[in-house]
């Protein structure tokens, strides 16, 4: 069974929250966020090439990675890790270089649920509502039929 991803973007506040559980111990989920070799295996759209230029998941570290879709082009993302506490918690900045200077601050909480299960919760704060909505508008609103179709493909696969 697939674990459900819950994403919420409250009205009037420039936040996005997500919650997702994993059938794996917290140590493993954390390690999958820490090691560049593992990051490359999941942090990117399927079929895209992912180049990790830098990924230093420690307090004061930073990252930059580039997604390359098969049809060409590239999407680069970068930020810094403000704090990283092993198997517990991290705060990072996030910027899509194609949308420069719009930087979100994202916290992630790794929670041990026992029985080899983990809950991952994320909270992202954007500089303005417009920035948040601009970043996620189409994927989350009813406007983008194509977006939903893709989402549906994903969730029914």
């Amino acid at each position: 069974m697939t674990n459900t991803l819950t994403v919420t973007a409250p009205d009037g506040l420039p936040f996005i929250d997500f919650v997702r559980e994993f059938d794996a111990p917290v140590v493993a989920v954390f390690r999958a966020h820490k090691e560049p070799d593992l990051i490359k295996q999941w942090l990117g759209p399927r079929g895209y090439d992912m180049e990790v230029e830098r990924y230093d998941f420690v307090t004061g570290g930073g990252y930059r990675y580039i997604h390359r879709p098969p049809e060409g082009g590239q999407y680069a993302f970068r930020g810094v890790f403000h704090v990283v506490r092993e198997n517990e918690f991290a705060i990072q900045t996030f910027e899509f270089e194609g949308y420069p200077d719009v930087v979100s601050i994202e916290s992630m909480t790794f929670e041990d649920l026992g029985d080899g299960r983990t809950r991952l919760s994320g909270h992202a704060v954007y500089p303005t509502l417009e920035a948040r909505d601009g970043m996620v508008a189409s994927g989350m609103e009813n406007g983008m039929r194509e977006g939903y179709e893709q989402l549906e493909e994903l969730v029914t696969r």
Binding site: Y75, Y99, G147, L154
Partner: protein
């Protein structure tokens, strides 16, 4: 896709800015079911037709919609190409989340993340025993 042209970033910017407004998103939603006139688009809103025209102008400027001369009707259409560019971007950003986490599921199920720390992380992460090893130097990775 001609993604490295600066023009594309501008286009995405203006498209996302255009979509940062709830009325315009609803207009796009309506147009995804088929072309419509300004009158038809204005119907569900408690705002003037002029205001709706302005919104359409913003969408037109962002190349999200086009208008054709069809006698007086001048219907508004969605521009599929721009939407494709947007969904490509969404692919690269938001919808990824679900896909990412499914990939992460697969990775975790495969046990790769449980295995001994890979060569990329030195002793620092060997903390399963509960004893915190003093932090040794991370790999020097200055750019």
């Amino acid at each position: 896709m001609k993604t490295d042209a600066p023009h594309d970033d501008d286009m995405l910017d203006s498209a996302f800015m255009a979509l940062a407004d709830p009325v315009r998103r609803r207009i796009i939603a309506r147009l995804s079911r088929g072309s419509a006139t300004v009158n038809e688009l204005a119907e569900p809103f408690a705002i003037s037709k002029q205001a709706v025209s302005k919104h359409i102008h913003v969408l037109e400027h962002a190349q999200l919609v086009t208008r054709t001369r069809d006698a007086q009707r001048r219907p508004v259409h969605l521009d599929a190409a721009t939407l494709e560019a947007l969904t490509a971007w969404i692919d690269g950003y938001r919808l990824i989340h679900e896909q990412q986490f499914r990939s992460l599921d697969a990775l975790l199920a495969g046990g790769a993340a449980n295995a001994a720390p890979s060569a990329t992380t030195p002793s620092e992460t060997r903390d399963k025993s509960g004893t915190r090893k003093p932090k040794t130097h991370k790999k020097e990775q200055k750019q």
